[in-house]
Amino acid sequence: MANNIDLSIDFCGVKFKNPFLLSSSPVSNSAEMVARSFDAGWSGVVFKTLNSDRLPIIHPSPRMHCLHLGSQKEMAVQNVEQISDRPLKDNLMEMLYLKKHYPDHPIIASIMGFFLDEWVYLAKIAEDNGADMLELNFSCPHMCIEGAGHKVGQAFQLLEGFTEAVKKAVYIPVIAKMTPNITDMNEPAMYAKMGGADAISAINTVRGISEIGLDDWVPRPNVFGKGAISGTSGPAVRPIGLNFIASMAQNMALGVPLSGIGGIETWVDALEYILVGASTIQVTTGILHYGYRIVEDMIEGLSDYMAGRGISRVSQLVGKALPNLYETDHFELDRQGITQYDLDRCIGCGQCYIVCRDGAGQAIEWDAQNRRPKLIEEKCLSCMICSFVCPVPGLISFKEMPSDWKRRETEVMDTSLEKQIKIEPFTKEGPNACNV
């Protein structure tokens, strides 16, 4: 591993030795656990969301379920866990312990209140007991009380008010953690910023149902005969997380540091979040699946990638994909291409043929004698679905065609039906953008 690589990053003025943090969840539930995670290489922690002891917190049982895809385990985890069920005092002692023994690993206290005074109380007490930063949890999808959890994340004025009150009460930086259960995260993020938030983290879990019992018809987890729409996390939600981070990073008006969360398991996943604008990343489900040890591979993998590219500081990578991110109407539609097949490596499984026939342009003929596909170039839609199923990596690739090349139009089954169609051409003029 190259040693001139600097993975450290500044996040709201707080220094982390690498961008990899535990997110607020069971993986950050106690000092004993977090200490081990620091030993393994995690640079900081968002401690499991504190509660003020005002209401009893009891986790439903069982509290999680998961979604496998064939033999691929834990595509997603489904949870109905509440915020920390530990007494506030205990949590604060844990934070003090970590501060004392791991002074160079920042502690971010996640808090959640139900009304203004409670938010302020938790914020101050966290600061007084060593928190380097706060994360305001506006996003838990299954806290069921109005004015808490993701309900706040969807009520922008409330969110602004709580942020503002917390900001007034403490000196340390404040992150607002957003719910993905919303169309455009820029709106609540702007409200958080107006309230004074120094950074945004996203995403919390996505509301979902990942499995329903076929014997009892109870959505999972089955809490003694009852299921609920609850929080989905893990690799399945990564595209959603990347969407929100990228769209906030593109928003010049927002302009605050972002912490990316959602489905990160490897350095590649982490780097993708960084490339669309996150400067730290947080992980839960990846650890629920593999344990803290995955950070070793994140550190090593990212360092080697950077060394290979001649990039010495991870901050140089933040947002590097953003200049290449456009609205789809910017695409150059006069440039077209097709697939190309390196048939020397073909093993003849015919999956390309099946999917092209049933889901694309019928652009492949099947040579049953030799068990080989034969591409009819003018019919290839360049949808690329054949390359998704091909078991030989890189056998099917994309190539651009010359500008005078034309794709054949899809044939009409029976042109004699032309006389029977009832059609009036649409002639009205209108705007070229969709105005709502």
């Binding site: 020397d344 999956q351 043929y353 099947w366």
Partner: protein
Amino acid sequence: MSNADKFKQMSKGLDLAQAIFEADRCLLCHDAPCSEGCPADTRPADFIRKLRLKNITGAIRTIKENNILGGACGVLCPTARLCEEKCSAVFKSENRPEGADRPIQIGKIQRFLIEHAWQTGFKVFDEKPALRPEKVAVVGSGPAGLSCAAELAKDGFSVTVFEARPEPGGVLRYGVVSYRFDMNFFEHELNDIKELGVEFQCNSPIEGKEGAEKLLKDGFSAVFLAPGLWAAASLKPDAAGIDGLFSSVDYLAALRDGRFEEVEAKIKGKTVAVIGGGSVAMDCIMSAAKLEPKDVYLVYRRSYLQMPAESDELIEAQEEGVHFLLLNQPVDYVTDKSQRLKGLKLARTRLGAPDASGRRKPELIEGSQWILDSDVVIEAIGNQAPEDSTDWYPHVAVTDKKLIKADPNTGKTSVDGIFAGGDIVRGPALVVTAVADGKVAARAIREYLGN
């Protein structure tokens, strides 16, 4: 655990998670070579796809509807030269002949699915067919007979299986060693067939002059002959009285019909030689090797590459510590005064030109005779039709080896109403080919009796 107990159980198959893992590797080929490679048309590409798409009951249905002995075949098929031979998942192409992966373990998935059906109580054939008035007789309850009987019962015919031995199964019960295929497993599979309404009459050999033809007169509208090959070829037919000399047929049956301890006592601590190079010889030698002998020798007159046994069997035998005595031809037995076996007289051979089977022919080396001290010798040099077999079907045309001549597309013999299949037609073959023959004949019998 006693040896007898060790022999009673075969090793565990895949569990659900392992089967799904294996199905996940399948490429779901368009024109799947695995399905083309299955003699019984068990349709592996279909049942693997169904498993992959969580249609487990459908996968089981595909197997059982096409192969009533799907479980037995899953365990016993030499898949490396059947369904798995051309599996695309080995990633071979003309330009990459080396290949990079393993074939899908089709036999193992197939076995899992059938065991899963038994475990979950899923029944494929839960609807009774409309009954037909005709009765059909099946002679022999090996895989060919069972398959034909099941097919006909599914069509509503009333089927009676006549079996000479005390229990149904043929080689599945009295041949294959039980640690490869155990009776608990077989009873389940047999039960699937009994539930179709097939009637079994055991201890009922068809024999005597024109025994088979008589069935046609006794009210059976058609007869399927599947008696298999139960006479053991012998090096020296007059050597039968020697104490310590077994035929493979007798030795393997003894392991399974209550004579286990007797055989075990003969082998434990002794030197054992098995003559032969095929799969039956492998069953003999591997089972002997597990009975704590002093030494086990496999004696074969050609060389390694000419051995007809499956390559995984050969590798297993080597790993079990079997001494391969190749290029040695047995010529005689050495006994003491009381006819107790003392040794096997062997002569060295060299390989000459290829013979009719395409394998290089062994030639004796003059003056090379030597004696291998041995207490037990098992002859596994081929099963054949018994001398008197044609007595009970005298009008059925047979080959010079007494194999029945039957049309491969229908199983029809030279006698109207008599059909045949399995080893008695093909010579020593496989469970899955016997199943195929049973299906083919059943279809022909249905047509013969007017669809």
